[in-house]
């Protein structure tokens, strides 16, 4: 990085001084990535209108919470976890079970227990439960590193998925849970699309704020040190395992929050939303956006959401294949990034 900056400066000194914009834009992939995604977003919203923007915005907010929280683990601490979707699912199922509609369930033959909690009572439980599971999982996973950590995190995602699918007395298995509560403050129910978008963005802002506080604190600096050299920082007397466990739990709680939000937004969930593939897509988003930057994760989530919506309008892709086409593009992007830019579009850390 430093070397390329040097040569840029040399080039600028020799050439007949180009304009400010030219100088900024030359070879600056970060700038181009930002410009591309933001312009793309603005053009799309302008073209498709506000209704579209609102739906996209909510999807974006949920993916962004997940991506930012996963980046805390993958980018800042250097643990490549592919199991994040498990915590997302725990949050979603906690929300679904606690708030599902009692009269709707009573009318079904395969009724599951209902509790009839309001959204704002269930959300902290969802977050805390994800955190508790993360403590257990984290204690078991703490000794693993690098590719073995990837393997066991795959395992966590699969165990979580199978639990959602097979614990039928609570989750109703493949049939899913319907009629999940919308958030309500006093008598005001947040059920409009726009209100829900604002609410999601508020939660996203909260997550970004917490993440920013975490990574800019001394705690965050220890995490970065762990990523760079675990043994070295342990020599200075830091309990590496405690730090790793702490960030793992924080990240899982944020994913639980995203899960609660997601369940309430779609008002129907089934295990198919929490398959391993979603987790792999999430890792791709984090890497695409950039490791060890919060802004990068937001950018990656935006690019990911826009990619799907952009493909809907391509005439040569049949609508039922949009998701698959996006997955192909993401896979190819991942390969290209690993080849040419292992830190992601605006990232600060190479795998």
């Amino acid at each position: 990085m430093a070397i390329s900056a040097q040569t840029d400066a040399d080039a600028a000194a020799e050439a007949p001084t180009p304009g400010l914009i030219t100088r900024l834009a030359r070879g600056n992939i970060e700038l181009w990535a930002n410009l591309l995604v933001i312009t793309w977003a603005i053009v799309f919203m302008a073209w498709q209108g506000t209704g579209f923007a609102i739906t996209i915005g909510t999807v974006f907010a949920i993916w962004a919470i997940l991506a930012v929280s996963l980046n805390l683990v993958v980018g800042f601490t250097g643990l490549l976890s592919v199991g994040h979707v498990g915590f997302f699912g725990i949050g979603a199922y906690t929300m679904a079970v606690l708030t599902s509609n009692a009269s709707y369930e009573a009318a079904r033959t395969d009724a599951i227990p209902t509790y009839g909690w309001p959204f704002f009572a269930a959300l902290p439980v969802a977050v805390v439960l994800a955190g508790v599971v993360a403590v257990v999982v984290g204690v078991a996973f703490n000794r693993f590193r690098d590719d073995i950590f990837v393997l066991v995190s795959f395992g966590f995602a699969i165990i979580a998925f199978n639990t959602f699918l097979n614990l039928r007395e609570i989750t109703r298995g493949a049939f899913g849970i319907h009629e999940i509560e919308k958030p309500a403050i006093g008598g005001w129910v947040i059920d409009g699309e726009l209100e829900f978008l604002l609410f999601s963005l508020a939660l996203l802002a909260l997550v970004v704020l917490v993440s920013w506080l975490v990574v800019s604190s001394s705690f965050g600096r220890v995490l970065t040190a762990i990523r760079e050299d675990e043994e070295a920082i342990a020599v200075f007397g830091y309990r590496v395992t405690h730090y790793k466990l702490a960030i793992w739990v924080i990240s899982a709680m944020m994913a639980g929050l995203a899960g609660g939000l997601f369940a309430s937004w779609t008002s129907f969930i089934d295990p198919n939303s929490f398959i391993l593939l979603e987790s792999m897509l999430l890792v791709s988003i984090v890497i695409l956006g950039g490791l060890a930057t919060i802004w990068g994760s937001l950018l990656g989530a935006m690019a990911f959401v826009l990619m799907e919506e952009g493909m809907r309008f391509l005439p040569f892709i049949p609508p039922e294949y949009v998701g698959q086409a996006r997955q192909i593009v993401l896979g190819v992007l991942l390969v290209l990034l690993m080849l040419f830019r292992p830190q992601g579009l605006v990232g600060k850390y190479r795998l």
């Binding site: 395992g155 192909i328 080849l339």
Partner: protein
């Protein structure tokens, strides 16, 4: 501190083993027939895991990063058989055919053949015949090979007729080489012209006989489609290594970068499979031995016995390749130290490319066996990959013996584990086993000796 921890781990490991053995003993006493059934199922599932783990281990212990394309290779193998034999699989009512797919695989075949000819013959022949002639000749051969593959894929119903000349030629070459080598090994002298002539004659006869037999036997189509699918999956693996991983390894040697890149490959190929074949599970046509026999109260299918035998055949094949051939020696050398192997004159790129071919072919074969046993769907690859990965960790990562042992152990534990739970918890059981193993036996049952 460390010693205490080690002792704790050993004690826990012993306790766990004892508990497992006690549980198994109790189960066997409780219902011997069922125990036999579960043991047989465990062996047949374990055989597939063992095949997966062997290929995975071969690749891993050569390049030392996890190649997730491996999962896609399993799916490519299974879907290759489905693609070529969909008419039988779906009862003759519907046949999938995608010209673009045929062309794509023809191009891949041509590229791999061109690469093989180039690395093997270019330098030697260009000195004698001139560079341009050799390039043109090689190019023509490669294009013809690609066309041949595309034609075979386009007319799967005539597969045995189309493939019989190629099969005959291969058999003829093998017989010819074996006779000549056998003479040299037995008499220790260069063979006279008469022996060469005899070898040629025997080779041509054997090849011709095989070709005629295959051309006349419609039943051979299924097994030919196995071979074609394995070769195609292997060719894709080889092409990925030579066309992509080589450049990636030049730039960065971090295993995680390679892991993420191959994750991208897996994502893209899985999605492509879904687009071409749709996400719904598909059957493969019935292979032989699908009627169960009842032995001692257990239902045993001939095909599953075949699967178990194939695991041992696959193991023997790899063992001979690695321990008894000069190629195997170079594979082990590259695995030990790539730089030094280069220095002593091993063409590491060729060795690793062939290893990728073999590994992917093993994965494809395991995918095919699974497909015949149950059903296939595009996402099957990821789960098979993970099972192979777990089996190789359980057995001892990077060790061929560990791979086969780990595969069977994993299969057995998985099947006995779901005896009291329901069958849908089997993936949970395997990952539970993985986490237990990594916690208490991080080096696996048979650790690799360095």
């Amino acid at each position: 501190m460390l010693e205490l921890r080690d002792r704790q781990n050993t004690l826990l490991a012993i306790a766990l083993t004892a508990a497992t053995v006690a549980y198994l003993g109790w189960k066997v006493v409780e219902s011997p027939e069922q125990a036999l059934q579960f043991a047989f199922n465990g062996l047949s599932v374990g055989a597939i895991y063992a095949l997966l783990a062997m290929g995975f281990t071969l690749v891993y212990s050569t390049v030392w990063f996890f190649d997730l394309y491996y999962g896609a290779a399993a799916a490519i193998g299974a879907y290759g058989v489905y693609y070529l034999r969909s008419q039988e699989a779906l009862g003759g009512q519907y046949e999938v055919s995608h010209p673009s797919l045929n062309i794509a695989f023809g191009v891949i075949t041509a590229a791999v053949v061109a690469w093989a000819l180039h690395t093997r013959y270019y330098r030697r022949l260009s000195r004698r015949y001139g560079e341009r002639t050799v390039t043109v000749a090689g190019g023509v051969i490669a294009v013809l090979a690609g066309l041949y593959m595309a034609v075979v894929l386009t007319f799967p119903t005539e597969m045995n007729t189309l493939l019989s000349p190629a099969l005959g030629a291969i058999v003829a070459l093998i017989v010819y080489a074996v006779v000549r080598r056998g003479y040299r090994a037995t008499f220790g002298a260069p063979e006279p012209a008469a022996v060469v002539a005899a070898a040629t004659a025997v080779g041509v006869l054997a090849g011709g006989a095989i070709a005629l037999a295959v051309a006349g036997a419609a039943g051979s189509r299924l097994y030919l489609s196995w071979a074609v699918s394995c070769v195609l999956a292997g060719a894709v693996g080889l092409a990925l290594y030579r066309g992509l991983y080589v450049y990636m390894l030049e730039r960065a040697r971090s295993p995680l970068i390679m892991l993420v890149a191959t994750l991208g490959v897996l994502l893209a190929l899985t999605a492509a499979t879904t687009i071409v074949f749709e996400a719904t599970p598909r059957p493969l046509p019935d292979a032989f031995g699908s009627d169960p026999w009842t032995i001692g109260g257990a239902n045993i299918k001939g095909f599953n016995v075949f699967t178990i035998v194939m695991a041992f055949v696959g193991f023997a094949g790899l063992w001979v390749l690695l321990r008894r051939t000069s190629f195997g020696k170079s594979v082990r050398a590259v695995g030990d130290d790539e730089e030094v192997s280069k220095v002593v004159g091993i063409n590491t790129t060729v060795v690793i490319a062939v290893v990728f071919f073999i590994g992917a072919a093993y994965a494809a074969f395991a995918g095919i066996l699974t497909g015949h046993d149950t059903a296939i769907q595009p996402r099957m690859g990821l789960l098979l990959l993970l099972k192979g990965w777990i089996a190789s960790v359980v057995g001892g990562i990077g060790n061929l013996y560990g791979a086969i042992v780990g595969g069977f152990v994993l299969g057995m534990i998985e099947q006995f584990g779901i005896w009291d739970l329901a069958g849908e918890w089997r993936d949970v059981v395997s990952f539970g086993v993985l986490i237990l193993f990594l916690s208490f036996w991080p080096k696996g049952l048979l650790p690799r000796r360095d």
